[in-house]
C-alpha cells in the first residue's frame, strides 16, 4: 500500500488541517478551498430557503460564497455561469450569539421586543448590503472618474433615504456604515407598540434595503426585474422564537427581489407563525422551502469536496505539486473494501473467501448452519445470505477478539472510503481526521494499522465530546452510550453471531418525551445521529429510522451497516415515559445515569408491549 503521505514523513511545520472553520478564513482562502456542491449550485434561485445543516456541514462557507464579493472570484465554470449572469447578488449577515444576547430580553422568547429586533437586524443587514454595493460599484465602473461620480450619487441617495437630513455628511460607503453603527448604539431599546423613533429601520426586515434598491440598481445599470438579491443570514440558531416570526412575515409577504437564504441547525427553526396572529408561513415552496445541506458520506459531492479540501491544504505545504486525492494520500488496498483490509490484516494467504466463510459458519447458530447445508451448492445464495450478510460482523468480532489482549494492532479502520465514512459527509469532521492523519504521516508510515489506531483514538475523542454539547449533551451522551453498548453486546457479547448493524427506530412514547426528543435532535444537529431526509426537514416520528454516526460505530466496533430492524424502548408504560419520567434535561452525568437507569432502555427486534408500570 503505497501512499503519497510518505512524502511528508519527517517534515515539520504547521499542520495544514489545523483550521476547521470557514469563518476564520479570509475571502481568498475561502474561495480557494471552496468546492461548489450540487446543493450550493441549486441555491441560485428565487425561493426563500431555510438551510438546515449540522455543525461543521459548511453552512457558513456556502452562505459566504453566495455573497457577491466571493462569488465573483470563483473560477469553477458551473459557478461562473451564475456570477457572469449578474442575476444574483448576495450579501452575508452573520447573527452572532453576543449580538443576539445584547438585544433586550423582556421575555424568554423575545416577545415584546420584535420591533427593536427588526431595527437591530436591519442595521446589520444594511451594513452587509453596503459592503457588497461598494464592491459592485468598483467592479461596474472601471473608469475611476465615472466610479467616483456614481459612488457619490449612490451615497447621497442611500444616506438621504436611511439617514434623513444628514445626506451631505458622507463621502464614502464606510461613512454611512459608521452612521448606521452610531444609530444602532445610540438607540435605546423600546417595547413593541411604543413610539418608533427610526421609522425605516424599525419596519419589516430588509425595509431599508428595499427602499434603496430601485435607485441602487438604476445607478449600477442593473435591471431590478431580472435580479435577485440573496440575503444570506447565518447562525440563525441563536434567534429567539418570537424573532423568527419576523422572518416568517417577510417570507409570507413576498418581498422580492430580496430572497432570503437563512442557515440554521436542524430543528432550530421552531415556529412558522408570522407577526399577524393566525397567519403562518407555509413551507414546501409556498412561502419558503426547508433545504438540507448535509452531504451523504458516499455521495459524489462529498467525495469531490473531500478531495478538493485535501488537495488545497496539501498544496500549501509545498510537498505536493500535482493534484492529490484522498486515495493517493492515504493509499488503499485492493478495492478499498473492508474485506481487503481484513485479509491484509490476517494475511492474504490465509484469509481466503473460503476461510472467511468457514469462520462465519463456525460462529453462527446451529440452526443457521443447518440451513446453510440446503443452499451450499447455490453460490449466489451463499454470497447474499451468508457472506455479504455476516462478513462485516465477522470482521469486527474476529479482529476485536484478536486484538483485545493488546499484543497486536488491527488494520481494519483504514482506507479512503473508511475515512469518508467516519467523516459522515461532514467537512469539519473530515478535516479533523485528516489533521490526525497528517500528524501520523509525519511521524511514521501511514499504513492500515496506523490509520486504524488514529481512527480509534479519533472516535474515542469525538464520542467524548457528545457529553460536552450544550443543553441535552449529557443525556445524548447517555443515550449514545446506552445504544452503543446494547449494539456492542449484540455484535460481540454473544457466542453465536447474529446479523447486526447500527440502525434503529425509537419507541413512539420515548419520542413524545420532549427531553428525549431534544437530546436526539441535538445528536442530529452535531452529526452523532442520522435520520432520513423527511425526518430531517420535518420532525422525528415513529417512522423515523435512526443511524448511529460511523464515528460511534468505530468506537464500539460495530459493523457500519443497517442490520436488522431494532427498536429502542423503555420498559415503562407510555404515559410514564412521555410525561412523568425525565421531565427536565439532566444537567450532570449523575443526574443522567439516574434518569436513564429509571428509563431502562433496551433494544428489541420487534416492538414490545409495555409490560410494567
Amino acid at each position: 500500500m503505497e501512499s503519497l503521505s510518505n512524502r511528508i514523513h519527517g517534515t515539520t511545520g504547521s499542520n495544514p488541517f489545523r483550521e476547521v472553520q470557514a469563518k476564520t478564513f479570509g475571502d481568498d482562502k475561502l474561495v480557494t478551498e471552496f468546492y461548489p456542491t450540487t446543493s450550493y449550485l441549486s441555491l441560485f434561485n428565487e425561493q426563500h430557503e431555510i438551510l438546515l445543516g449540522s455543525r461543521g456541514s459548511g453552512k457558513t462557507a456556502i452562505l459566504r460564497m453566495l455573497s457577491y464579493s466571493c462569488l465573483k472570484r470563483i473560477t469553477d465554470s458551473r459557478v461562473r455561469k451564475f456570477a457572469d449572469q449578474h442575476r444574483y447578488f448576495g450579501f452575508y449577515i452573520p447573527l452572532h450569539l453576543e449580538f443576539m444576547a445584547s438585544l433586550p430580553q423582556d421575555s424568554f422568547d423575545g416577545t415584546g421586543n420584535t420591533e427593536f429586533f427588526q431595527f437591530a437586524f436591519n442595521c446589520a443587514a444594511a451594513k452587509a448590503f453596503l459592503t457588497e454595493i461598494q464592491t459592485l460599484t468598483q467592479d461596474t465602473f472601471k473608469n475611476s472618474h465615472e466610479r467616483l461620480k456614481r459612488e457619490a450619487v449612490l451615497i447621497e441617495r442611500i444616506s438621504a433615504m436611511w439617514l434623513l437630513g444628514k445626506a451631505s455628511k458622507f463621502a464614502t460607503f464606510e461613512d454611512i456604515a459608521d452612521e448606521v453603527d452610531r444609530m444602532y448604539y445610540q438607540q435605546q431599546p423600546w417595547k413593541d407598540g411604543t413610539t418608533i423613533p427610526i421609522p425605516l429601520f424599525a419596519k419589516h426586515l430588509f425595509a431599508p434595503i428595499m427602499a434603496v434598491l430601485p435607485q441602487v440598481c438604476r445607478e449600477l445599470n442593473i435591471d431590478i426585474n431580472k435580479t435577485h438579491w440573496l440575503a444570506c443570514v447565518d447562525e440563525a440558531e441563536f434567534i429567539k422564537p418570537a424573532y423568527l416570526r419576523c422572518f416568517n412575515s417577510f417570507m409570507r409577504s413576498e418581498k422580492r427581489p430580496i430572497v432570503l437564504k437563512l442557515a440554521t441547525q436542524p430543528y432550530k427553526y421552531t415556529i412558522l407563525d408570522t407577526l399577524i396572529p393566525g397567519i403562518v408561513a407555509e413551507s414546501n415552496g409556498n412561502d419558503f422551502n426547508f433545504r438540507s445541506i448535509d452531504l451523504a458520506w458516499n455521495s459524489e459531492d462529498f467525495r469531490s469536496l473531500a478531495d478538493h479540501i485535501l488537495d488545497r491544504r496539501l498544496n500549501r505545504t509545498g510537498f505536493f505539486d500535482e493534484p492529490v486525492r484522498l486515495e493517493e494520500f492515504v493509499g488503499k488496498i485492493g478495492d478499498d473494501d473492508p474485506k481487503d483490509y481484513f485479509r491484509a490484516d490476517i494475511g492474504d494467504d490465509i484469509a481466503s473467501d473460503q476461510w472467511i466463510l468457514d469462520g462465519i459458519l463456525k460462529e453462527l447458530s446451529a440452526e443457521r448452519r443447518a440451513r446453510f447445508e440446503n443452499i451450499r451448492d447455490n453460490p449466489d445464495r451463499v454470497s447474499s445470505d451468508y457472506f455479504k450478510k455476516f462478513s462485516p460482523v465477522f470482521y469486527m468480532r474476529y479482529l476485536k477478539r484478536e486484538t483485545a489482549p493488546g499484543n497486536r494492532k488491527a488494520g481494519l479502520f483504514a482506507g479512503p472510503e473508511l475515512i469518508r465514512r467516519i467523516a459522515d459527509g461532514n467537512p469539519r469532521r473530515f478535516i479533523l481526521i485528516m489533521h490526525d492523519m497528517f500528524e501520523q504521516a509525519r511521524a511514521s508510515k501511514l499504513g492500515p494499522k496506523n490509520q486504524h489506531e488514529i481512527i480509534e483514538l479519533f472516535a474515542e475523542r469525538e464520542f467524548e465530546r457528545a457529553a460536552g454539547l450544550p443543553e441535552y449533551g449529557i443525556l445524548l451522551d447517555g443515550i449514545l452510550k446506552a445504544v452503543g453498548t446494547l449494539l456492542e453486546s449484540r455484535v460481540h457479547g454473544k457466542r453465536e453471531m447474529i446479523e447486526a448493524g447500527i440502525n434503529f427506530e425509537i419507541q413512539p412514547a420515548l419520542l413524545s418525551n420532549p427531553v428525549v426528543r431534544g437530546a436526539l435532535e441535538l445528536g442530529i444537529g452535531y452529526s452523532f445521529l442520522f435520520v432520513d431526509q423527511r425526518s430531517l426537514l420535518g420532525r422525528l416520528t415513529q417512522d423515523t429510522e435512526f443511524r448511529l454516526a460511523h464515528v460511534v460505530a468505530a468506537k464500539y466496533w460495530l459493523p457500519m451497516r443497517r442490520g436488522t430492524s431494532l427498536v429502542l424502548q423503555s420498559r415503562h408504560a407510555k404515559e410514564l415515559i412521555s410525561q412523568k419520567l425525565l421531565n427536565r434535561a439532566p444537567s450532570t452525568s449523575k443526574e443522567c445515569s439516574t434518569a436513564l437507569g429509571v428509563l431502562q432502555l433496551d433494544l428489541f427486534e420487534q416492538p414490545e408491549k409495555e409490560t410494567r408500570t
Binding site: Q21, T24, A101, Y185, Q186, R465
Partner: protein, 358 residues
Amino acid sequence: MRFERLRAETLENWIDSTSVAMRHKRRLVIAVSGYEERSSYWSKRVMRDLKPSDTTQWLVAGFTDRKEDGSRPENDRFYLDAGLNILEFPSDEESGICETVSVTLAGMLRRAPRSDIEVHIDYSSMPRSWYCSLFRKCHTLLRQRDTLFMWYVGGIYDGAEFPTAGVSDISLFCGQPTINPRVRTHIFGLGFDRIRASAIFRVLDPQKLVCFYGDPGVRHDYVDRVRSDNRDLLAAAQFDFAASIGNFPEAFSKIADVVRDFSRLGDVILVPDGPKPLVLASSLAPEFFGRRGIVSLHVKRRKDHLSHGQNIQASGSIYGFSIAGVESNQDAEIQLVASSHPSRSSFEQSATEDRHTV
C-alpha cells in the same frame, strides 16, 4: 471606567495596617451564609477586628434555596450567634442583593458624608452574577476617597461535578458587540467545569480562541487538572496563558493586555470561568476599556436537582484586592439605580471618557 488605586491585599497586612484607623472609618461588610463551608471562613477571621458596631455594618445574605445543604445550617448559626440577621435572596437573581446594598450604602454616605468608607465583600461563596454586579454597583457608588475590598477564600474542589449549559443560559454581562465584526476572538477562562466549558465552546464555536487559567492555583495540582480537563479547548486555542489568582491587579492587567491586542483585529468576547478572581477580572474587562466590540458573557449555572450544593471547604488562603470608588462628586446625592446593568447610553458615555488607569 477608571480603575484607580487597584492593589492586591492580604488579610494580615490589611488588619495590621488599619487597626489604628479602625475607629475613624465607616465600614460595610458583605458576606454570604451559603452551603459551602468556606462561606463563613473569612468572616470568622475578621469578626474579632470588625465586630458589628455603629461604624461597622454587616450585611449577611443567604440563598432562598438549599437551606439544609452542606454547611448552611452551621454558617447560619455562626452569623446568628454574632447577632446578625440573614437576608435571603434567590441565588440566580442579583437584583435583590444589589438593591439592598445600594440602599445600605446610600444610607451610610448620607449619615456620614465626611467619613471615609470601606466596603468589604467576601465573594468566595457568591454566584458570579452577585459578585460581579455587586462590584460594579459598589465601585460606581463609592466616592474616590472610599475603598472597595474584594476578598476571596480559596476552595478545595475535590470530585466536584458541574452542570452543563445551553444557549438559553448565556447572557451578555458587560459591553456591547459591534455589528458584523470582521474578526471575533473568544477568550475563555478555564476551570474545573469541563462539561460546561465544552458546551459553551460548542455553542459559541469560536473563530479565534484564547484560553487562560489560574496559575499558581489554590493547590499545586489544580493547574494540571485544569489543563487535563480542558485539553480539547487548549488544543483548539491559538494560545493560552496563566494568570495568578493571588494577585488580582496583575491578573487583570494580563487579561486586559490580551484583550487590547486582539481588539485591534475585531471583537473580543470574554467567557469568564475558573477561579472567582479571574471570573471577576475577565467580566470587568469590557467596563475597563469602555468601548464597543469588547464584551463579557455570563453563563448561568443550572441547578442540579439531584445532588446537593458542593460543600467547598476553605483551602486556608485568602486573596484580596482593593480599589477606589469612581464617584467624583463628593457630596452628590446617591442615585439609586435598581437595575444592575448600565443603560446603553450610560455605557456610551463611559466609552467616551477614555480615562483608564490601573
